[in-house]
Subunit: 245 residues, 2 copies
């Protein structure tokens, strides 16, 4: 495992190439500019196509490059910081939190969500779909799972999508919010989310899961899928800091 290893690991070829390309991106290319094709790049840097492709893939993971079908590889703009701190306790949809309600349905949640909500097997819950827009771009798609028990006064609603979603949120806001916790992990974009976020299905995404607690139990769970290519998730603290982005 080499935890006390002090000698630097020799740098693999594609990693050196990555550094060289990174410097070229800084000095020669503008944001949005289309890179020469793989054949030309491989010739310019004197490397095999496979090595080049490995370096490009990693620069894409790191948010330096974007690859789009039918366009080619372009220089990515710097990632935008999106605040996901939990310093302000509030229910989803309370105040202007940058999220748009899309619609709401009733369905059986995924097994992991059902376990945390402590709902019965096959028990259906409200599922509110929301979209977070930042600087005019969709940055996250959310599924908010709300069990029947959290919104007992909600009556049957025939209103269209967004109005129905807002009714569920309004009922949820009647509860007192006792606390919330949040986690971030790597995931892959589901087909729905990919479409909303203008990504390819299966692309790596950052999944932010939030538990909202009320009366000693989990009253709702939010599973939000953030674009990993354009977003940097920021967590401030009690001191008021402006993150240089």
């Amino acid at each position: 495992m080499g935890t006390t290893q002090l000698e630097p690991v020799p740098e693999p070829k594609y990693q050196h190439l990555k550094t060289v390309i990174g410097e070229a991106l800084d000095s020669e290319f503008a944001v949005g500019e289309i890179l020469p094709n793989e054949r030309e790049l491989a010739a310019r840097f004197g490397v095999a196509r496979a090595t080049l492709r490995q370096a490009l893939e990693q620069l894409e993971l790191e948010g330096r490059l974007q690859r789009r079908r039918g366009v080619g590889t372009t220089v990515a703009p710097p990632r935008v910081g999106v605040d996901v701190s939990t310093t302000q306790h509030s229910w989803p949809g309370a105040g202007d939190d940058g999220w748009q309600s899309l619609d709401s349905s009733v369905d059986v949640p995924p097994a992991a969500v059902a376990r945390t909500l402590e709902t019965e097997a096959e028990e259906r819950v409200h599922i509110v779909r929301r979209l977070r827009v930042s600087h005019g771009q969709p940055v996250a798609a959310e599924l908010l799972y709300v069990p029947e028990g959290s919104v007992p006064r909600l009556t049957a609603i025939d209103a269209p999508g967004p109005a129905r979603a807002r009714s569920v949120l309004r009922e949820l806001h009647r509860l007192s919010l006792d606390g919330q916790d949040r986690s971030v992990e790597l995931g892959s974009a589901r087909a729905d989310d990919a479409k909303e976020l203008d990504r390819l299905p299966g692309a790596p995404v950052l999944v932010v899961t939030t538990r909202y607690l009320s009366g000693g139990r989990t009253a709702a769970i939010s599973v939000a899928t953030y674009r990993a290519d354009t977003c940097r998730l920021t967590f401030g603290d009690s001191v008021d800091l402006v993150m240089a982005s």
Copy 2:
């Protein structure tokens, strides 16, 4: 962009397959068990190898499967929650924070780090390497950048690696910590980090960047690379919650 799109997007083939395999993992396989090879799996589920591979790749991104050279594809244990909240203000290395100091060197930092530290071009800074171990496994490798100006009383040290690293941290602790902020983004494992974390170079990782502020300026920057396959980063809040993991 379809932000008001209400019809569900038709589920692609590999996504349905992913659900089916996910269910099989829950019901038929134990954690650590090796899956049948791709040919057998493709035959069992009646799909093309390419479709199967796409589904397996995404289950790997989501932390359900692990693929290791020379072993094959195994069922991954659930991801472990690793606390990265900033509710406690403290300098790196203050108290028992789960990090081990490895060594310290003096070198020119990456351009983005230099900009935030406001150091001169080509100005060298102290770089402390640390490793975070959780449940006996390395979960994160950190590079902590400390400019000369933050540790002015540090004298030339000939001590071996870890002692030298601790000297830098000890001097840093003399400053008053006025605040810190943190961000999480997707990255790819550098060769050094990959080795420490027992991953392949270029594997997707979660990069946690922390700015430590003192006297109106950035006194140090930590860039910590977390394993994305085994870790879920947790952010609690002021309410004391135990995250079910």
